[in-house]
C-alpha cells in the first residue's frame, strides 16, 4: 500500500484545521470518504479534496506535500502511524500525540508538540514558541516522547513540561524550560534569558555556557553516571545527539530554581 498523500493545490489565506486528517481518524476510510472530510478554514469549511490532491491508500502513513505555515493541528492526538510534512507546519503540530512519528522537513509554528504524550516528533527546521508546552491555562505540557529540533526553538520551549525528552540541535529562545515540572531538555546551541524560570524539577542539558539567573546555584563539577545511559538512548535517533562524539558525562551542575522547589538542574558540558 502506498502512503496516503495530500498535496496542497493552492495555499489558503486563512488557517486550516488539519486535525480531522490524523491517522487514527482515517483508519478504515476509503479515498472518497477522506476526500469528503470537511476542514475548518477560517470561518468557513472546505472539503479535503478542495485543498489537496489526494492519492495513495495507507491511512497509517500520511504525507503532506507542499505544506505551508497555515496548516494547524497536523497529527493532532496521533495514535500509531506516521506523518511526514514536506514544507512548513502551522501551529499545534502533533498536539496531544500519543504514539507514532511525525517528521517535518521545514519549520513548525507555535505550540508544536504541546501536551504531547508519547511518540517521536522531528522538526528539521525551526520550531516556534511554546514547543512541548501546555496550552494556555493548562498546568502540564509534554508528558512523554521525544522531540528533535534540528534548527532553533523559539521562546518558552518546554513550558510546564512534565516528562519526556526535548533535543534542540540549534539555539533555544528565552525562558527555555520555564515552569518545567520534570523531563529533559538538551540544547546544543545557545540559550536565551531567564533559562529555567520557575523550573521545579527536571534537567536542562547544555553544550554552551548559559546566562543563569541568581536563583540557580552552582553545585560544582561532577561526573554523572546517568549521562552515558541517556546518551546511549539517543544513539538510535536521526540527530546530532546520536553522534557519540557529542556525548559527555562531565558537567557543571547548577541547582534551582531556588525561587521554586529548587529540585531542577542545569547541567553544562565541561
Amino acid at each position: 500500500m502506498s502512503a496516503l498523500t495530500f498535496t496542497v493545490k493552492q495555499e489558503t489565506a486563512q488557517r486550516v484545521d488539519m486535525s480531522p486528517l490524523s491517522c487514527q481518524l482515517l483508519k478504515g476510510k476509503s479515498l472518497p470518504e477522506i476526500a469528503a472530510i470537511e476542514l475548518q478554514n477560517g470561518k468557513r469549511k472546505l472539503r479535503a479534496d478542495e485543498l489537496f490532491e489526494i492519492s495513495g491508500s495507507n491511512t497509517q502513513q500520511i504525507i503532506i506535500k507542499n505544506s505551508f505555515a497555515k496548516l494547524d493541528f497536523i497529527a493532532k492526538d496521533l495514535q500509531d502511524g506516521s506523518v511526514a510534512v514536506e514544507g512548513e507546519a502551522g501551529a499545534y503540530l502533533a498536539m496531544g500525540m500519543k504514539s507514532g512519528s511525525v517528521t517535518v522537513h521545514g519549520n513548525a509554528g507555535l505550540y508544536a508538540a504541546c501536551e504531547m504524550k508519547n511518540g517521536l516528533l522531528t522538526i528539521n527546521g525551526n520550531a516556534g514558541d511554546f514547543l512541548g508546552a501546555a496550552l494556555p491555562g493548562n498546568k502540564q505540557g509534554m508528558k512523554g516522547g521525544t522531540i528533535i529540533v534540528k534548527g532553533n526553538a523559539g521562546q518558552r520551549a518546554g513550558d510546564h513540561m512534565r516528562r519526556g525528552t526535548m533535543l534542540i540541535e540549534g539555539n533555544a529562545g528565552d525562558y527555555c524550560g520555564s515552569r518545567m515540572i520534570a523531563g529533559t531538555i538538551a540544547v546544543m546551541g545557545s540559550t536565551g534569558r531567564f533559562l529555567g524560570y520557575a523550573m521545579q524539577r527536571g534537567t536542562l542539558l547544555l553544550w554552551q555556557q548559559p546566562t543563569l539567573s541568581a536563583t540557580f546555584n552552582d553545585c560544582g563539577s561532577h561526573t554523572l553516571a546517568f549521562l552515558p545511559i541517556l546518551f546511549k538512548s539517543f544513539a538510535k535517533l536521526d540527530s546530532k545527539f546520536a553522534d557519540s562524539t557529542e556525548a559527555f558525562d562531565r558537567v557543571q551542575r547548577f541547582g534551582g530554581d531556588m525561587a521554586e522547589k529548587g529540585r531542577a538542574e542545569v547541567l553544562v558540558k565541561l
Binding site: 554523572l224 545511559i229 538542574e265
Partner: protein
C-alpha cells in the same frame, strides 16, 4: 554408568521451584563492582537460614553494562516472591548503595517487576531525582561520593533451586580438588549460581532430625566417619564426600551446569581418587524437578 573410572549412580537430584532475579552492579572498576557484589551475595548460602540464596553469576565487560563501566551480575533466589523482594531491597540498600562508586541495574527485564531502587530513593531525603530513559525509570540518589544511580525495578522470574551432585572420593583433598575443577567449569555457564562457600558444600543435609526443633540435619548416610555405625551409602574406600548445589533460572540451565561440572570431576577420574558421583533427593516426593545423573551424562 562409568566415566573415566568414576561410577555415576542411577539416582537423581531433586529440586524445588523458587523465585529469582538478577541485578547488575557496576562501579568505577571491576574491583569495586566485585566488592559490592560479594557483600550483596554474602550470607546467602541457603534459604534455610539466610532468607535467600545468592551468588555472583559472572563478571561483565563494560560493553555489556548499562552505564559502560565494569560490572558484575548477581542472581538471587528465594522460596517466595515477597521474601525475594525483601532480600533484594535489604541487600541492595546495605551492600550496593553503600559501596563506593556503585550503580545498580536490573538484570532481567521481563517478568513481574519488583523494587530494586524504587524505595532506596527515599535515602535521598527529597533530593533524589528520577529519569525515565527508553521506558526504564532510574533514580539518582545524592550520596557523599557523588550520585548513586539505580534502576527502579527489576524482573522476577520463576526459577529452580536445589540442583545438586555429590562427589565421593578416596580423600578429602581429592574431593575438594575435584569440586574446585567442577566449579571452574560451572561458573562459565549462564543463569546459574552455586551459592555455598566457593560453590562447595561439605555439610550436605537430610530432611529431619532426632531433635524436633531442627528441620534438617547431617546426611549421615554420606558421612564417612559413620560408615560403621549408621546405614551408610558409602563403600569402604570413600573417605570424603562433597556436594555442589546449583540454583538456576530454568531446569535446562541446571542440566547444563551439572553436565559440565560432573564432566570436570570425571576428567580427573579414578586415577585422582574420584570413585562415584551421586545426588541428593527425598525420594522424589518433595520437589517437582528431578535431575537424573545418568540421563544428564548420557
Amino acid at each position: 554408568m562409568i566415566i573415566n573410572g568414576v561410577s555415576i549412580d542411577a539416582t537423581f537430584a531433586e529440586a524445588f521451584p523458587m523465585k529469582a532475579t538478577r541485578a547488575i552492579i557496576t562501579a568505577q572498576n571491576e574491583k569495586w563492582a566485585m566488592i559490592s557484589a560479594q557483600a550483596m551475595t554474602g550470607f546467602a548460602t541457603s534459604v534455610i537460614a539466610c532468607g535467600c540464596e545468592a551468588g555472583i553469576e559472572r563478571v561483565l565487560d563494560p560493553s555489556e553494562t548499562p552505564d559502560g563501566r565494569p560490572g558484575v551480575s548477581v542472581l538471587i533466589f528465594a522460596m517466595g516472591g515477597k521474601g525475594l523482594a525483601k532480600q533484594l531491597e535489604t541487600r541492595a540498600g546495605q551492600c550496593v548503595l553503600t559501596s563506593p562508586t556503585s550503580a545498580l541495574f536490573a538484570g532481567i527485564d521481563d517478568g513481574l517487576q519488583i523494587p530494586l531502587g524504587k524505595n532506596l530513593r527515599y535515602f535521598g531525603d527529597g533530593f533524589q531525582t528520577s529519569k525515565k530513559i527508553d521506558g526504564k525509570r532510574y533514580w539518582r540518589v545524592p550520596v557523599m561520593d557523588g550520585e548513586f544511580l539505580t534502576e527502579a525495578t527489576t524482573g522476577r522470574v520463576d526459577a529452580v533451586g536445589g540442583g545438586n551432585f555429590l562427589v565421593l572420593a578416596e580423600s578429602q583433598h581429592q574431593a575438594l580438588a575435584a569440586c574446585e575443577a567442577a566449579i571452574i567449569e560451572m561458573k562459565k555457564m549462564p543463569n546459574v549460581i552455586m551459592p555455598f562457600p566457593g560453590g562447595v558444600v561439605r555439610s550436605g543435609s537430610k530432611v529431619g532430625s532426632k531433635y524436633p526443633a531442627l528441620g534438617a540435619s547431617t546426611n549421615d548416610a554420606f558421612c564417612p566417619t559413620l560408615k560403621g555405625i549408621t546405614q551408610t551409602d558409602l563403600s569402604p574406600e570413600i573417605e570424603s564426600v562433597m556436594e555442589i548445589v546449583i540454583d538456576g533460572l530454568t531446569k535446562e540451565d541446571i542440566d547444563n551446569a551439572m553436565r559440565v561440572g560432573i564432566q570436570a570431576v570425571c576428567d580427573l577420574g579414578a586415577a585422582n581418587g574420584i570413585k562415584r558421583i551421586s545426588a541428593g533427593n527425598y525420594g522424589g516426593k518433595l520437589g517437582p524437578f528431578h535431575f537424573h545423573l545418568q540421563e544428564i551424562m548420557a
